[in-house]
């Protein structure tokens, strides 16, 4: 704290420093203020949603539209003669897809901050540096987590029912939330790398669309041509969607859970670190 009038201010004694001490000091400082500063930045981004509710349109209308389209329009054709109720099959996929679209806004926001020169202000402040990215990531993840329950409500209205055990059913939204938190870091990395809102938005589109459609999100992988199955089988989205589907409807979890956990760890630890590092290197 340094509130005083400029007249009274006298230079503080500069702590004796060696590069090692400075580095340690920086790390301690970063962790000391990380939570508070991230909260502040997340607050800022949540305020954006409050002031500009139309940015939430796609998060709110998206699941309604997709559930309607796939359940009623395509569902009759896709679900005919299968051993599952198509809406039960569909919901986890739509959950993941819609939330991916929501958290992918992270990068667009970061890029537009960078473009507008906002980040210069933040970088000249004594705040934790990771908080600029962290705040955005937390805000979009929070929105996407809340939207899970909204999507589930619509789905139940359209006739979806849970058939899994209570505990997995309750934990399912959490899996979606944590996965999307990881993807938000990927989006942050995109934003920091391209530094231009339009490019970020376009790259987001070209990442999200193929990943979500070339997976078990809407149709069983077995109905795809062989060469596409090969991709869909290794697509992380397939594993997450299958995990969530089996949590909601019952079925084997373990194999999907391990792979999902691996991807989540990779996204949060690997991609998150890379994004933070790239942000710090900006000059």
């Amino acid at each position: 704290m340094n509130l005083h009038t400029a007249n009274e201010w006298r230079p503080q004694t500069v702590p004796p420093s060696t590069p090692v001490r400075e580095a340690i000091g920086s790390v301690i400082y970063e962790f000391r203020w990380l939570a508070a500063d991230t909260a502040m930045m997340a607050w800022r981004n949540l305020m954006h949603y409050r002031r500009n509710p139309e940015t939430l349109m796609s998060t709110i209308a998206g699941p309604v539209m997709f559930l309607f389209l796939f359940n009623y329009v395509f569902g009759g054709a896709i679900g005919a003669g299968r051993d599952f109720n198509y809406i039960d099959y569909l919901v986890p996929g739509v959950l993941i897809q819609n939330n991916l679209f929501t958290v992918m806004n992270t990068g667009i926001g970061i890029a537009s901050d960078l473009q507008k020169g906002f980040v210069d202000r933040y970088r000249s402040l004594p705040m934790a540096r990771s908080a600029v990215l962290g705040g955005r990531v937390c805000a979009t993840s929070l929105i996407s987590f809340v939207s899970v329950y909204w999507t589930l409500a619509i789905a139940m209205l359209f006739g979806m029912r849970f058939h899994g055990d209570l505990l997995p059913v309750l934990l399912m939204p959490l899996v979606v939330g944590v996965f999307c938190f990881g993807v938000a870091w990927l989006s942050a990395l995109v934003g920091v790398t391209v530094r231009n809102a339009e490019t970020a938005s376009a790259s987001t589109f070209f990442i999200t669309i193929p990943l979500t459609f070339l997976s078990s999100t809407f149709v069983p992988v077995e109905t795809m041509p062989g060469w596409l199955q090969a991709f869909a089988e290794v697509n992380p989205i397939t594993h997450v969607v299958n995990l969530c589907r089996n949590m909601a409807q019952g079925g084997p979890l373990e194999s999907y859970a391990w792979i999902t956990a691996f991807w989540i760890a990779l996204l949060i630890i690997g991609v998150g670190t890379l994004a933070t590092w790239s942000y710090r290197r900006i000059s």
């Binding site: 704290m1 009038t5 230079p11 503080q12 400075e22 000249s124 402040l125």
Partner: protein
Amino acid sequence: MDNAIEVRQISKSYGKVVALENVDLNVRRGSVMGLLGPNGAGKTTLVRILTTLLRPSSGSATVLGYDVVRHARHLRSYIGLAGQSAAVDDLLTGRENIHMAGRLYHMPKREVQKRAQDLLEQFDLVEAADRSVKGYSGGMRRRLDLAASLVANPPMIFLDEPTTGLDPRSRLELWDVIRNLVSEGTTVLLTTQYLEEADQLADEITVIDLGKVIAQGTADELKHQAGSEFIEVTVRDAEETRRAAGVLSNFAENNECDINEEDNIASIMVEDGAPLMVQIVRSLDAEDIAVANMAVRQPTLDDVFLALTGRTAEEAATESEQDQD
């Protein structure tokens, strides 16, 4: 320690492009330093180095005794930066913008609230305080940006082209705000392309061109480099301008007379203009030259820039823009 800023041989280059070359600069505590130069001269680069946003390629600099590279983290608590882009959040209200900056300076909540109210009053933003910034005018945004950078009451403040793009009235208002700041003892480093702005606000001026410091001193000292005073005589036509020039050159310090043919103006440089006026009028009258207008003019910083670089500030700006392309 009397210097708030000490810059020693700072250079910064991006690949082959040299943005700053061996810059030296001292800024006394409590003074206003004007960093003057055309677009692309390196002013913003220097400010970015001093505000820890950019690492210099070589050389060292301290601000308030903190090394800008080694003590960057400590330094950030004691400086404020208001940039040309007016980094205020459109969707937040004015008050929320200040509040956020205060919290990120790690001030306690209550203190921030009090300080925000003070600043809003001081900057004449109380009425608009709880409206979102989207509807603010350009001048209001700059004032808010400045207020946000002052929230922690930093003893050192950097203003990067604070009035670029503002209308004349907003510019005058912002000048007043800056003058108030200085009277409270804040040290200010201000960059500008406007020679008048530096003249109005700065105690000392550093002229920077193509990444190098080309002159340093008070506004008066710099003006003396360009010459003392000018006498300008406006007549009716080109023919008379030439004849008037013949008369005037006898009174000039350097026996030379500049002719502006377009506006029929002949001007000379003199030590002290006023006492010469009567003699000049008489001599012109004797030659039967009718004087339409006559004035003694102080040299502007434009004259200074011309004297220092052989180019006008505008030409220099165009050149460095071409360099960048």
